[in-house]
């Protein structure tokens, strides 16, 4: 059920992002999903990759500040209101979403969203109890 995300601190400098993707590509790591949050002077790059160990080791060795965070991959019906149903459910259950972004591939005919919750366990329990599918990390990395 756990999905591990790699977060990287980046200064807002041209070419910095390309350096990260370059190092990952050299070490044969495949990026499955990516989101970039940025402010006027720094950014946080969030990645789901198929090999967390290698990605994190390679980037740390290159001097990046890297963190591994638990996120949740949730199946979302690919139709109008699909995401809304899930967000409404979370809101009603009092679960805060820190941030979210879309996964590139679909799971069958469903879209996949990556969520970062304030309280991960609580969120997973709530989703499960309401029939929402949470995708296991090992399955996700291979999608």
């Amino acid at each position: 059920m756990d999905v591990e995300q790699i977060s990287i601190f980046l200064e807002n400098q041209s070419g910095r992002l390309a350096e990260v993707t370059g190092f990952l590509s050299e070490s044969g790591v495949n990026i499955r999903a990516l989101a970039l949050a940025d402010t006027s002077d720094f950014g946080i790059l969030r990645l789901i990759v198929d090999d967390n160990e290698t990605a994190s080791r390679v980037l740390k060795a290159k001097g990046f500040t890297v963190q591994r965070t638990d996120v949740v991959a949730v199946e979302v019906p690919d139709k109008p209101g699909g995401l809304h149903t899930i967000l409404a459910l979370l809101h009603k259950g009092g679960v805060n979403v820190e941030y979210m972004y879309a996964f590139v591939r679909q799971s069958g005919d469903r879209a996949v969203m990556i969520f970062r919750f304030e309280k991960t366990r609580e969120a997973v329990r709530l989703l499960g109890a309401n029939g929402v599918t949470v995708i296991d990390g090992n399955i996700l990395y291979g999608l």
């Binding site: 601190f9 980046l10 940025d38 720094f42």
Partner: protein
């Protein structure tokens, strides 16, 4: 242990008697042999014989860094070059370098003072000293080297730089004492970690760090990362080099000044008036045993205070506080006096902050702006933007609160701030002068 038990534990009266005798002889020699001092004394209407007590030292004119520059290179030497056996010079990063000379006896004096300093910091003749101060014109490397040999310890003259090789030497030779600048000591731990070596597993017991100001917080960090006892050593080439004053490892509270060789004073940097013990001001030194390069009432521009209270280590030598800044490091930001060391204290209060920071001062329109660049390490990094912004704002608020100056805090990637092999570059001032 105390290296020179007789001199380092002298009662006050005996010390003062020695100081007066040595001072008067220094003044007579300087007046007779250095045209600069003769001119200065004459202009101030004072003769060496007018100095009847230690208090009379205030009648003498000051010597400044500019005076030394004006007499570049050898104008301040009090002996013929035949008798000079060594020359050192300051880096000259802030202007023309200042050049100093030593007779054979001066080198012996300096070696003794460094032996005293190393022992005060915990070294004994059984120790292996890893000396990572730069060798060369800079006094740090050779100062420690000669002191270590005088003490009878084994010295590894590794000098600065080539850090990876230093780590291998540390692993293989098992040195027990580290001498370096404090910022280089921390740099060593980073490189060691990259190479898979934990400093705490090396054999180091004590470290003697100096040549740049460092805070108590930085001491805590060094002591925990290296698992050693760390003391501060103070000196400047104009006075003799390192070994003018040192902390004892027993108290780690203030640096004992070797008063049998140097007379310290604290003055008001504005008026030049001598301040009483305990008051903070600019540190001034007069050398009283040096032959080649006597220095009289030299304004160090270092800010500190003197404390004559006895110390638990048994030394009776007066103690100076860790230097809290330099009169010329002081930044004036929109009329507020700011010392880099103050910013450092604020930063080190934040759990997990790396001790690597840089201050950038700019002028936008007519307004000074201060940007504090702080490296973000793993301990502080969050994958959530608002936490990092909260961190920036928190530091900025603390700076405002403690220093009364508005600063923009900018998180930067680790190792963006240039690591110096010697002295850390803490301030970049882009304002036009």
């Amino acid at each position: 242990m105390i290296y020179d038990i007789d001199y380092e534990t002298l009662p006050k009266e005996a010390m003062e008697a020695i100081q007066l005798r040595r001072l008067r002889s220094t003044l007579e020699r300087a007046y007779a042999t250095v045209p600069f001092y003769r001119k200065q004394f004459d202009a101030a209407g004072v003769k060496p014989l007018d100095i009847q007590s230690l208090k009379d030292i205030k009648l003498l004119p000051f010597t400044t860094k500019q005076d030394l520059r004006d007499n570049y290179p050898f104008g301040m030497f009090a002996v013929p070059m035949d008798n000079v056996v060594r020359i050192h010079a300051s880096s000259g990063t802030t202007g023309q370098p200042t050049v100093v000379g030593y007779t054979a006896r001066d080198i012996d004096t300096w070696s003794t003072l460094m032996a005293r300093s190393l022992m005060a910091g915990g070294a004994t003749r059984g120790d292996i000293i890893h000396n990572a101060y730069g060798y060369g014109l800079f006094t740090g490397g050779l100062g420690v080297h000669y002191g270590a040999e005088k003490l009878g310890a084994s010295v590894i003259p590794v000098s600065g730089g080539n850090t990876k090789r230093q780590i291998i030497i540390m692993r293989d030779f098992g040195p027990t004492i580290l001498t370096a600048t404090p910022s280089y000591a921390l740099h060593l731990t980073e490189v060691a970690a990259e190479m898979g070596t934990d400093f705490r597993e090396l054999r180091f017991k004590y470290g003697i760090f100096g040549a740049e100001p460092w805070s108590e917080k930085m001491r805590d960090e060094i002591q925990s990362k290296l698992d050693i006892t760390a003391v501060d050593i103070y000196g400047l080439s104009e006075v003799i080099g390192p070994g003018v004053a040192v902390e004892c490892h027993e108290a780690q509270s203030g640096l004992h000044i070797f008063e049998d060789h140097f007379i310290p004073e604290i003055i008001d940097p504005e008026t030049g008036a001598v301040l009483p013990p305990g008051h903070t001001g600019e540190l001034v030194f007069t050398s009283i045993t040096k032959e080649a390069f006597p220095i009289i009432r030299y304004r160090t521009r270092d800010i500190t205070a003197l404390h004559p209270e006895p110390c638990i280590c048994g030394r009776t030598l007066v103690r100076m506080d860790k230097v809290s800044g330099r009169t010329d490091d002081m930044l004036i930001i929109r009329g507020v006096n700011v010392f880099p060391s103050q910013i450092e204290s604020v930063l080190m209060d934040v759990e997990g902050i790396a001790p690597h920071y840089q201050l950038v001062v700019d002028r936008e329109g007519n307004l000074d702006t201060l940007t504090v660049m702080v490296e973000i390490g793993e301990a502080l990094f969050s994958d959530e933007v608002r936490r990092l912004q909260h961190l920036e704002q928190g530091i900025s608020q603390n700076i405002k609160e403690y220093l009364g100056v508005t600063a923009r805090v900018k998180l930067v990637e680790p190792k963006v701030i240039a690591r110096s092999q010697g002295k850390a570059v803490r301030v970049i001032d882009n304002r036009e002068r």
